[in-house]
């Protein structure tokens, strides 16, 4: 055995080995105590951490309630959309990835950083929405970069789909991501960053009902964020669908009638306050807000001098002009003054040194024609007799200077001046001369279209005033209904007793406004067969802020109003139209007339009450006419008789349905007078070929008017 190189004489000291043994023992005890600390003392903490590690709460977004019109036709729908979220804890270094994410998803990197900054206090597993309505291209980008950008997640959700072209946009409002300022507001206490919230109109007022309640799913994930199963599921509670009071047909008619005119229109059922149509111009497309609106589009909307985002129906406070004379008439009659006034209008009145003009020299005026004439002179004198205090008393009783309490955010109260108001705000006394301006709805008086609709509608309903609303209250939870009344205070439902004579005189006067007649202000808005009453208004003065703008080269035509009702007493529809800088007050009256026609037409159609279109048997018509080139004289040896033609036709609904051949010959030419007529008719109609002129022969039964043509003939049923 070769072992000489190894010393084997010594042995290890037992003490040293004992030291090693005790060392190992202490080491093991140390490790055991470490295990004790983790697994026994801190077990709850670590169990929780382990749960947090693998369990992620994934939101299930509640679909927002849909909006329907009064006949349950869909107005606001939802559509499926893909949203991209960023989950910070799924990436080692989110900041380094931002540039790539911004590029791939077409985002502004600074905006992206700002978004992340807002979520800085949220836990890392909280998904942060960074892009909504992700396009298929961007989805492909996310899928292709799943390894490089594990923090990106997508989720399918329902998004808002609004009617196009701003249809009822101001009434509906829009939704948007809750802003950081909102989150600090107690009203938004139950919102979280990234939540979508109603920001205007019905979407804002009824947000609590529409939003529903998001659910969540507890998903088990592995360290790479892959879903390996799930625990509990808390289903989302969909938002409540709401039925609006608007009528799509009437709304459409109102939108078309308003066209692009700057102003507002509101149609209301004065029996219950249901808003049937509401238009504000210019409008905007709320779909731009459904996805986060980009900054330039937003700036354009908020800097537009015509205020597209403003709902002018409830927010435009302007001098009501002559529409105020209805209130004046009521006050004057109730006080027993107006019925005894018989004045002569010489074009104005100026008892206090300043001459107040009237539009016309109306001559003899009393309360019965003062309203259709809109005679300023009469109302100057009436106002002077009443005095500002009595005017203010009646105006306030009917709701001037107060919000109506409509269930839309941002309503303005308008203004009814009084001596107290003047002293309080402008520190000078009321001069009686100022009453004259107030009497014709100028001076400091300001009203919103919805106020005028409520007031005039109330007066036409014998003093029964209503609270306007856009959502049927019977579908609301009782508690919400109560809080709604508190949140939107206003003059609301009220009854102002009126003498029956007052009621009759005022409403008859309003009906005369649209009756054609000398000095009648809106005779051109007359509707045959429809009891359509109303009052025009022309207001030179605009709101203070608007006045400042008008001087900058914009047109300074007066704002014109029309407030109408149909029928004149106990109306079913009251409509207020405002056309800013519209010049003549019968223009808005015609707009209102169109809407009223649409309303009445629909009512009659629904009731099967339209005048029946009688099927008419083809009518035989005899006619003579000349050749088209007849006026250029004889050609190719033709005689005048050769150019005159005659024949018989069967005409039904303005169309020729059959012709009976007749040879052109001199028979007809015998009548010289007819030749003249035929010649002139040939000039008009020759280009359209052989067509009988309507003037050519006497027709049985119906005789078409000279102006009417084939297209309108069938509808000439007035």
């Amino acid at each position: 055995m070769v072992s000489g190189s190894v010393n084997r004489g010594e042995k290890l000291s037992t003490v040293k080995l004992a030291v090693v043994q005790y060392g190992i023992l202490f080491l093991m005890l140390g490790l055991a105590s470490g295990l004790w600390r983790l697994q026994v003392l801190d077990v709850d903490n670590y169990r929780q951490l382990a749960q947090q590690n693998r369990i992620r709460k994934e939101p299930i977004l509640a679909p927002r309630g849909k909006l329907f019109d009064r006949e349950n036709r869909l107005v606001v729908d939802n559509y499926s959309s893909v949203t991209c979220f960023l989950v910070r804890e799924q990436s080692r270094n989110v900041d380094a990835d931002l540039a790539l994410i911004a590029k791939g998803l077409d985002l502004d990197i600074d905006q992206l950083r700002a978004t992340l900054h807002r979520f800085r206090n949220q836990p890392g597993y909280q998904p942060i929405p960074i892009k909504q309505d992700v396009t298929p291209d961007e989805q492909a980008f996310i899928a292709a970069h799943r390894n490089e950008l594990p923090e990106l997640e997508t989720i399918d959700e329902e998004r808002r789909l609004y009617p196009r072209d701003g249809f009822a946009a101001h009434l509906i409002g829009y939704v948007g991501e809750v802003s950081e300022e909102d989150l600090n507001n107690p009203r938004f206490a139950y919102y979280e960053p990234g939540d979508v919230v109603g920001k205007a109109g019905v979407e804002e007022t009824y947000d609590e009902l529409l939003r529903g309640q998001d659910g969540s799913r507890e998903v088990i994930v592995d360290s790479r964020g892959r879903e390996v199963g799930y625990f509990g599921i808390e289903h989302a509670v969909p938002g409540q669908d709401l039925r609006l009071t608007i009528d799509n047909d009437l709304q459409r008619a109102a939108e078309l009638a308003m066209g692009d005119r700057n102003g507002a229109l509101v149609a209301m059922d004065p029996r219950n306050g249901e808003i049937l149509a509401m238009v504000s111009r210019p409008s905007f497309d709320p779909n731009d807000f459904a996805v986060k609106i980009n900054r330039s589009a937003w700036n354009k909307l908020v800097t537009d001098p015509d205020h597209p985002l403003m709902n002018k129906v409830i927010q435009a406070q302007l001098a009501p002009g002559s529409t105020f004379k209805i209130l004046m008439s009521v006050a004057g009659l109730e006080e027993g003054i107006a019925q005894n006034m018989h004045i002569v209008c010489n074009g104005g009145w100026g008892p206090y040194g300043y001459y107040h003009h009237c539009d016309e020299k109306h001559g003899a005026v009393d309360i019965h024609n003062a309203i259709p004439y809109s005679c300023d002179t009469f109302f100057y004198m009436l106002g002077d007799k009443l005095g500002i205090d009595r005017i203010a008393k009646y105006a306030t009783a009917f709701g001037y200077g107060q919000k109506t309490g409509i269930d839309l955010p941002g309503e303005q109260a308008g203004l009814m001046p009084s001596p107290q108001w003047l002293i309080h705000n402008f520190h000078h006394r009321w001069y009686p001369d100022e009453t004259l301006d107030v009497a014709i709805g100028q001076g400091a008086v300001e009203a919103t279209p919805i106020q005028l609709a409520r007031i005039i509608g109330g007066i036409a309903s014998d003093g029964h005033m209503v609270r306007p609303h856009v959502v049927f209250p019977n579908q609301l939870p009782a508690e919400f209904r109560r809080s709604l009344l508190d949140s939107f205070p206003g003059s609301g439902d009220a009854y102002v007793p009126m003498d029956p004579n007052t009621w009759e005189i005022v409403t008859d006067g309003m009906a005369d406004v649209t009756e054609p007649g000398l000095y009648h202000t809106a005779g051109s808005a007359h509707l045959e067969g429809i009891d359509f009453a109303g009052k025009t208004g022309t207001a030179q003065q605009m709101s203070h802020e608007a006045l400042a703008k008008t001087n900058k080269g914009r047109n300074t035509y007066p704002n014109v109003w029309f407030v109408g009702a149909t029928p004149r007493r106990n109306p079913e529809l009251v409509i207020a139209v405002l056309w800013q800088n519209g010049e003549f007050s019968y223009y808005p009256a015609r707009i209102a007339a169109k809407v009223v026609t649409a309303f009445v037409d629909k009512k009659r159609r629904m009731a099967g009450n339209l005048p029946p279109e009688k099927p008419q048997a083809p009518v035989e018509v005899g006619a003579i006419w000349s050749s088209p080139d007849g006026q250029r004289g004889a050609k190719n040896g033709e005689t005048a008789a050769d150019r005159i033609h005659g024949g018989h036709f069967y005409v039904e609904n303005g169309q020729i349905v059959a012709a009976r051949k007749t040879a052109p010959q001199g028979g007809a030419a015998k009548a010289g007078g007819l030749q003249w007529m035929a010649g002139s008719a040939g000039q008009e109609n020759g280009a359209r070929g052989a067509r009988p002129t309507e003037t050519a022969a006497a027709l049985p039964e119906r005789r078409p008017e000279p102006r009417s043509n084939a297209a309108t003939q069938s509808r000439g049923d007035h």
């Binding site: 055995m1 070769v2 072992s3 190189s5 190894v6 010393n7 084997r8 004489g9 010594e10 042995k11 290890l12 037992t14 040293k16 080995l17 090693v20 043994q21 190992i24 023992l25 080491l27 093991m28 140390g30 490790l31 055991a32 470490g34 295990l35 004790w36 600390r37 983790l38 697994q39 026994v40 801190d42 077990v43 903490n45 670590y46 169990r47 951490l49 382990a50 749960q51 590690n53 693998r54 804890e89 080692r92 270094n93 088990i220 994930v221 592995d222 360290s223 790479r224 390996v228």
Partner: protein, 368 residues
């Protein structure tokens, strides 16, 4: 020589073998649990083969006279250094960010594991030859060089964990070889200065290695980065509670939150799935194995035998302490596997090989 008795397996340490087999079962259970739902599902099989091979090797080496093994040691040492050099050359096989393996046919051999055993033998041989007398500074420096050269080579791979496992061999040799207090104090001061120098110079340690070494003190400071492994490991162990979540039911383990749960963090995985009770059971097994080995060292026939066993004890103790310490957040993350438990063929083979030599020491305790 004449008194030499016939070597018999009656003197084989069957109790130790039983403890080792217990350890192996624990290892197989946990390697199975951590890999069964992954693409590494064949790992338990391969681990079993390595263990079978290891036990066979152990029986073979138990029959070889350790004195003869000690005689081979210088040659083995030379070969080891060459192999470590080869690893660093293009012959080395690269994986997991380090150049640690040599490809031998279908097998990947990790020479640093082999060198570990060789170092144990060399240090035992060196100090045995010094005969337990007081060490001169020259002796100490020689011992330092003996261990320092392979340490340097392994550090270059880079494999900090294995490098560190060489140190306890030297420490055990010096302690048992007869270093006195003054020398120990001076050496420790030097070591402290050296470590401080290495740390601050930044030349020898890569920054990720440094981050790993310090993050254990406060893993929450960088939960996504350097603190991730420690934090997830602590969560795994802590959430296991007293009785554990059950085999294949550890959420941290099965959800891949625990990094490489079948090697370095196998103890965390085991603690999560089998709780405090299971973890203490494993520690107890280790304690018994170590005590048994020390008893064998005590009863060894001569100094070199004792020194061999104590070298093995030093390495095993160090690895257990550092690995378990790392898993429960008391030690830095160094990438040291848990002997007899972590998955890894080379580690298993050489551990059993070393134990085979230790067996031989025991079997020869009455020989002479």
């Amino acid at each position: 020589m004449a008194l030499r008795r016939f070597l018999s397996f009656r003197d084989f340490d069957w109790w130790l073998l039983l403890l080792l087999l217990g350890m192996c079962s624990v290892s197989l259970i946990e390697v199975h649990s951590t890999t069964v739902h992954t693409r590494f599902a064949r790992f338990p099989e391969m681990q079993m083969i390595a263990m079978g091979g290891g036990i066979a090797l152990m029986f073979i080496f138990a029959r070889i006279d350790y004195h003869r093994v000690l005689d081979w040691a210088p040659w083995a040492y030379g070969t080891g250094l060459l192999a470590l050099g080869a690893v660093l050359s293009p012959l080395g096989h690269k994986a997991l960010g380090g150049r640690r393996w040599i490809k031998l046919g279908p097998m990947l051999i990790q020479p640093s594991e082999y060198v570990k055993l060789v170092l144990i033998l060399m240090v035992a041989r060196y100090f045995a030859n010094l005969g337990g007398r007081y060490l001169s500074w020259k002796d100490i420096l020689k011992a330092l060089a003996l261990v320092g050269i392979p340490m340097e080579l392994v550090l270059k791979q880079p494999d900090l964990g294995t490098t560190l496992t060489y140190a306890p061999i030297l420490v055990a040799g010096l302690f048992l070889g007869g270093i006195n207090l003054r020398q120990a104090a001076i050496l420790m001061t030097c070591a402290a200065v050296l470590v401080g120098g290495v740390w601050s110079s930044g030349k020898f340690l890569k920054s990720y290695q440094k981050a790993r070494l310090t993050s254990f003190t406060n893993p929450s400071a960088d939960p996504k980065g350097s603190g991730y492994q420690v934090l997830q490991s602590e969560i795994a162990v802590g959430s296991g509670g007293i009785w554990g979540k059950g085999s294949e039911r550890g959420t941290q383990t099965q959800g891949y939150f625990l990094p490489i749960p079948y090697t370095d963090f196998i103890f965390a995985a085991f603690s999560e799935e089998h709780g405090f009770v299971g973890a203490i059971f494993v520690l107890l097994l280790y304690f018994l194995i170590l005590m048994r080995l020390i008893q064998n060292a005590q009863t060894a026939a001569d100094l070199p035998g004792s020194l061999i066993i104590m070298g093995i004890v030093a390495v095993l103790t160090f690895q257990i302490a550092v690995n378990v310490g790392m898993v429960i957040g008391l030690m830095p993350v160094t990438g040291i596997p848990l002997p007899l438990m972590s998955y890894g063929g080379s580690s298993v083979l050489f551990t059993f090989l070393a134990l085979g030599v230790a067996m031989n020491v025991r079997m020869r305790r009455f020989v002479n």
